[in-house]
C-alpha cells in the first residue's frame, strides 16, 4: 500500500508539474496520517525541526545554516555562498509549487542536514511552519 501511494505521488509529480503549497501539504499530511491516524501538522513542531542543530554536517548543521533563522528572508548556501530565495511562500511565490522539486530538495537536504530521509510528518510540519511565516 505504501509503495502504491508513493508511486502515485511520483506519477502525480511527473504528470502535474504545477501545484499549490496547500496541495503538497495535504499530500504529506495524508501520508503521515496513514502511519499515525489522526496526525495533524503543527507549526510549533515545524519550527523546532527548522531551528534544530542536528550537527551531522559541520557546514550545514541545521536548515537555518543556509535558509537563515527567518524563512521569509533570502538565505545563502553555506558552502558556495550562492543566494537562496526565501523558503516562505509569502516571500517567494515559486516555493512548494512543484512536487518533484520539493521532493528532490527534501531528499537532498534532509540527508545532508539530518543524515537520513525526512518522514512525511516532518515534511508536513516543516511546510506548515514556513507557510505560516509572513
Amino acid at each position: 500500500m505504501k509503495g502504491a501511494v508513493f508511486i502515485g505521488m511520483l506519477l502525480w509529480a511527473s504528470v502535474a508539474q504545477a501545484a499549490t503549497p496547500g496541495e503538497i501539504l495535504t499530500g504529506y499530511t495524508a501520508e503521515a496520517a496513514r502511519r499515525t491516524p489522526g496526525f495533524q501538522p503543527t507549526a510549533v513542531r515545524g519550527e523546532q525541526f527548522y531551528q534544530k542543530r542536528f550537527g551531522v554536517s559541520e557546514v550545514m548543521p541545521a536548515c537555518a545554516s543556509c535558509h537563515t533563522d527567518r524563512p521569509t528572508q533570502p538565505g545563502r548556501h553555506a558552502v558556495t555562498g550562492k543566494l537562496i530565495q526565501p523558503l516562505a511562500p509569502a516571500a517567494n511565490a515559486e516555493r512548494f509549487t512543484d512536487l518533484a522539486k520539493v521532493e528532490k530538495w527534501f531528499r537532498r537536504n534532509c540527508s545532508e542536514v539530518t543524515g537520513r530521509e525526512c518522514s512525511a510528518a516532518e515534511k508536513a510540519d516543516f511546510m506548515v511552519y514556513v507557510m505560516g511565516k509572513r
Binding site: 557546514v59 545563502r76 548556501h77 558552502v79 555562498g81 550562492k82 543566494l83 537532498r108 540527508s111 545532508e112
Partner: protein, 167 residues
C-alpha cells in the same frame, strides 16, 4: 644572429592558443545546455562554463557527486550521464585549464586552481577571498555581477566592499 629553439616557439604558440581557448569570449555556458545542468548544478552555484576545466577533471568531479566539496550532490544515473556528457563535450583543452595537482587521491579538481584562473585573479587581495560575501573563490557572482548570465566583463565587477574593480 641568435636562433630561437623551435621547442620554445612551439611552447609560445601553444600557450597562445590555449589562452585563446579560455579567453573571456567563451565563458558563456554553450547555447542550449541540458536543462538538468542549469537546474541541478546551477541551483547551488553558478552554472560554471565547462571550458574552465579539462574533460578528465570534469569526469573526476562527476564520479564523486556524493562528496562534492563538502556537500552531497548525488544525482540519479540518467541525469548524471547527461550532465557529464555535456561537460566533457564542452570541456576546455590545454594545460591552462588543468586543475592543480591533487594533494590526496580523494581530493577533487578545482577550476579555481588552474593556471588560467590564478593568472586572471592574481591581483585580487587575499582578504577578498575570505570576505563573508565571497566565502569561496568559486563564488563568481560575488564580484562578477553578471556571472549568472555567463558575462564576466571587467566593467561589471563590483568588489565585496561595493567598489568597482580598478585594474
Amino acid at each position: 644572429m641568435k636562433t630561437v629553439p623551435i621547442g620554445l616557439c612551439l611552447l609560445v604558440a601553444t600557450s597562445m592558443l590555449c589562452t585563446a581557448a579560455a579567453s573571456a569570449s567563451d565563458l558563456r555556458v554553450p547555447a542550449n545546455p541540458p536543462p538538468a545542468y542549469l537546474a541541478e548544478c546551477g541551483s547551488c552555484h553558478v552554472a560554471f562554463p565547462p571550458s574552465l576545466l579539462m574533460a578528465d577533471d570534469w569526469k573526476r568531479i562527476m564520479a564523486r557527486l556524493d562528496k562534492h566539496y563538502g556537500d552531497n550532490a548525488s544525482l540519479d544515473v540518467p541525469t548524471r550521464e547527461v550532465i557529464e556528457g555535456f561537460l566533457v563535450k564542452q570541456a576546455g583543452q590545454g594545460r591552462r585549464v588543468a586543475s592543480a595537482p591533487l594533494a590526496k587521491p580523494t581530493d577533487l579538481p578545482r577550476l579555481t586552481t588552474t593556471p588560467w584562473f590564478v593568472r586572471k585573479h592574481h591581483e585580487v587581495p587575499r582578504a577578498v577571498w575570505s570576505h563573508a560575501k565571497v566565502k569561496t573563490p568559486s563564488n563568481c557572482v560575488a564580484c562578477h555581477t553578471r556571472a549568472g548570465e555567463g558575462s564576466y566583463r571587467e566593467r561589471e565587477i563590483v568588489m565585496p566592499n561595493g567598489q568597482r574593480w580598478e585594474d
